[in-house]
Amino acid sequence: EINSSEDDDDEEEILDHAMAASEVHLMGAKPENKESYMNGIRDKVYKKVHQEVEESVANEDMMCGKKRNEHKTFEEICENYSIVTISGSVIPTFNPSIRIWEYNTTDLEADSSTWQKHSWDDFYEKLNKIMDNEYNSEEEDELTIDDEIEIEKKKSNRKKKRKNKADKTIPKKKPAKLALGPAYTPQLFSPTKFVQYYADLKQINEDYYSLLDSGKKPGEAAERSFKYQVEYTSEEGPYPMKSLMVEDFISLASKLATDKKIWQKFLKRAFMSTGYTDD
């Protein structure tokens, strides 16, 4: 009995450890497999974006810049994409970091005389009514396909009704008359540059403890040692970006997919200059 109960305890302990490890992994904590996550993204981008871009460039060279029907131009490829920008954090998973974005404000002042502040009250009143009536009603919410077929049989005018009840969470195509926005062509509010700041914790802690050793009070030592500094800017080599529009990111993605040196630099910055690797 004693032996068996000890076995149970052991098993429970192993299970506990496994659960704890899995929890820690899930909850963030010490970084693991981040390099392989980044490599995975690079591979995906390589398969998708880079090949498309290469084809378009080769095609444009061949046709002296003229577009051929069966291939898209670089600009057309870029128009299909939007960029999800993911920032480094303050929590020291890596070094703490923050980012300053800069955007085009040229002509903003000249434009200011035409600014109008429209109230949003009416819009939200209408929106709340729609949300209350449409999404809180029980009617037709959880119909199965079989239910729908049954209704289809019973109501000959069902098709018309279905059309009226189109899925409102699928957008209509952008009207062709609307010009591309600040992410695609340079204009007011186009992002132009970013500055990435980071706190080099190793250095900061070393400075702090050595100031304490030299007799400084904790408050003064902390104030003198703690600082953020520029880690890099988007204009810096080895992959300077002339602006931060979709085209610039797609060009960079394409470079990162093929140039190992640039990729290594990108990884160093992605992990906030901690020197992190998976092993």
């Binding site: 994409y81 960029i83 020291p92 703490p96 970091s97 929106l127 449409e134 007011l188 953020y228």
Partner: protein, 302 residues
């Protein structure tokens, strides 16, 4: 400011800050192996919790790191920026089973951090707590909710609490909308430029209450309905817009139909959307997402 007539200098800059994860239980000198909460590592091991935290060791942020960070921002950046996009996770992780997180602790820490942020960026010469020199746009993170990752459609205690915590920075006419979905819009340059605070937890795979974005009862469906209405209104007003939220809208994170629909909205409103800023992953990177591929995926499903 078209309401008060006050003029404000625009700098053409803004700050993105994310994932602070302050830990009130962080103890300098304790063991990294105990989440920097307790224990003492042997002298030959350098596994002790440093004053300002240690990169890559796995502990959350000491509160002093957050305080000094905000102080540094106040001294060096505050007067050079127009607005702050602040994408959530303002509490510690649930990584110490001896001190499990409670809903009250999560809300209290969020309240504390919100007050600190407001103190840094508010207008010191105004008695109105809604007057800010630098506009704040917070959004909710997967660790800001209890239980971790799980967040239901509102109105709930949590959506009401977050409205209370961010009361000064959420436009008042959006109170009901916020109670329902914990998302809102702020015009950072009135009539010209806006930022959306998107509650990405309603689209997030790891939220047990999210199955898809196809059924009207799903939180993600309702969030997308809100997103569509707001984007259309902004288009009609010729206002350009930044999207912001905690969990990045990538395939790895979002339920399939939520990912495709969200990506398609960003694609079809490319006349006004400038970009999207997110946190959660702790890594500085970007991911291009293909709107046309999402349209095809949705059409093939239909």
């Amino acid at each position: 400011n078209l309401e008060t007539g006050q003029e404000k200098k625009l700098h053409g800059r803004f700050l993105h800050i994310t994932d602070m994860h302050p830990d009130a239980f962080y103890k300098e000198g304790s063991s990294v192996e105990y989440s920097c909460h307790s224990g003492k590592p042997p002298p030959h091991k350098k596994n002790f919790a440093s004053k300002f935290g240690d990169a890559t060791k796995g502990c959350d942020a000491p509160e002093e790191l957050i305080d000094y960070t905000l102080e540094w921002i106040k001294d060096n950046l505050r007067d050079k920026i127009d607005f702050v996009i602040w994408t959530g996770d303002n509490v510690r992780h649930d990584n110490d089973r001896k001190i499990p997180r409670t809903e009250m602790q999560i809300l209290e820490m969020n309240d504390q951090i919100s007050r600190k942020m407001q103190r840094v960026f508010s207008d010191p010469n105004s008695d109105n707590p809604r007057d800010f020199d630098v506009t704040l746009i917070p959004s909710i993170g997967n660790n800001d909710v209890f239980p971790h990752n799980m967040f239901a459609l509102g109105p709930t205690l949590q959506t009401r609490e977050y409205y209370r915590i961010w009361d000064n920075v959420i436009p008042q006419e959006q109170q009901r909308t916020f109670y329902r979905g914990a998302c809102f819009v702020t015009e950072v340059i009135p009539g010209r430029l806006a930022v959306l605070s998107i509650n990405t937890l309603y689209l997030y795979k790891a939220n047990p209450l999210v199955d898809n974005c196809d059924s009207k009862k799903q939180p993600g469906y309702q969030l997308l309905a809100w997103l569509g209405s707001v984007l259309e209104e902004l288009r009609q007003r010729d206002v350009k817009v930044w999207l912001s939220g905690h969990v990045p809208p990538i395939e790895k994170n979002f339920a399939d139909s939520c990912y495709d629909k969200f990506t398609l909205w960003t694609h079809e409103y490319r006349d006004i959307i400038i970009g999207g800023l997110y946190g959660h992953m702790n890594i500085d990177h970007f991911i291009p997402v293909d709107g046309e591929a999402s349209r095809k995926a949705i059409e093939s499903e239909v």
